[in-house]
Symmetry: C2
Subunit: 201 residues, 2 copies
């Protein structure tokens, strides 16, 4: 009876094994420099086995990114539970978002820059985890507007402005590590502070 369940479990296990091997390689060597054969070698299976679990290389990328976003979402939602003041929550969320990007730069780029390139039609499609992350942001911004802390620009625009700022600084710090940036924490704080102040005025 339970044999089918065991087989399903084993299958899921190998799927996870492939996924984490792929993540590690993508992150360390860059998506483009990782071949299916390399992943296969790492898990000690033949390259074609991967195709029994993932449609192709971009499907593998998609799955890795989905995991990344879930992890980001978890971080953010934990944070929301721990803070009450909406502006403070927004500030901390911005920080957490940027720090997430800097902690896992390759994952971040994979998810927010590389992935849309390889999946041109849809980036934040309905029901996706990416959409959930943005919904989270919208919720916070909406609370700031409701409490009349932010001036009355519509929720959508306000959220998108916030996202632009944190996305921008995250990518710049990742992509140009040798640029003579201001002290990193100061830059991050100023970006967040400036944007929030600008939304109040």
């Amino acid at each position: 009876m339970g044999v089918k369940e065991r087989r399903a479990r084993e299958k899921e296990q190998l799927r996870q094994q492939i996924l984490s091997a792929a993540r590690e390689l993508f992150v360390n060597e860059g998506y483009e420099n990782v071949s299916m054969r390399k992943i296969a070698n790492k898990i000690e299976y033949s390259p074609t086995t991967i195709y029994l679990y993932f449609k192709d290389k971009t499907d593998l990328l998609d799955s890795v990114c989905k995991e990344t976003l879930l992890s980001l979402l978890e971080t953010l939602e934990q944070l929301k539970r721990d803070t009450t003041d909406p502006v403070e929550t927004l500030r901390k969320s911005g920080r957490a978002y940027i720090e997430f990007g800097l902690k896992y730069p390759q994952d971040y780029k994979l998810t927010f820059v590389t992935r849309p390139q390889f999946q041109k039609d849809l980036g934040l499609e309905e029901g996706s985890v990416g959409e959930q992350v943005f919904n989270y942001l919208r919720g916070m911004v909406s609370e700031c507007i409701r409490q009349q802390i932010f001036r009355e620009v519509d929720v959508e625009t306000t959220g998108q402005v916030m996202w632009s700022a944190v996305h921008g600084v995250t990518l710049l710090l990742i992509d140009f590590p040798d640029f003579p940036w201001t002290e990193q924490n100061k830059l991050i704080d100023t970006v967040i502070h400036t944007t929030i102040e600008g939304l109040k005025a």
Copy 2:
């Protein structure tokens, strides 16, 4: 006598031919999806000829990006000549920067996202055109601070905050074209306005 000059001219001509073929293909099909053979086909030379003019594929990418940045710089400097009020200049420059990115999305990504990935050590190295673009931004910001329009955060940080905002919104609009953005012009204006207001306060 003039034969050497003519030969040099012819060489330069073919170099340019390769460059613009590469640009067109990179932009239309994406750097990764363009092979040296494809470029060679387009200009009706053998693939290896390209290697007589460019060290390798990333060198070709570098050269394409340099051209792009030069063109952006030109746009911006023209703009500075036409405007006097520093805040107005900054606002217009932000707009011009974003519009440049949206007009040539692939060029923009190639230059500000792809290129640093393939040239990890240096992105905005000294004397590069990229540095010149940031110097331009610094100049404008510095003027705003001098005239005491902006609060006294240091020039570097202020400039970097500005850059983060425009870079962020540009990339989001490019990478997630199907996301339900606010009307594009409104979003762009709000990003710029919010950042400038935030820097004043």
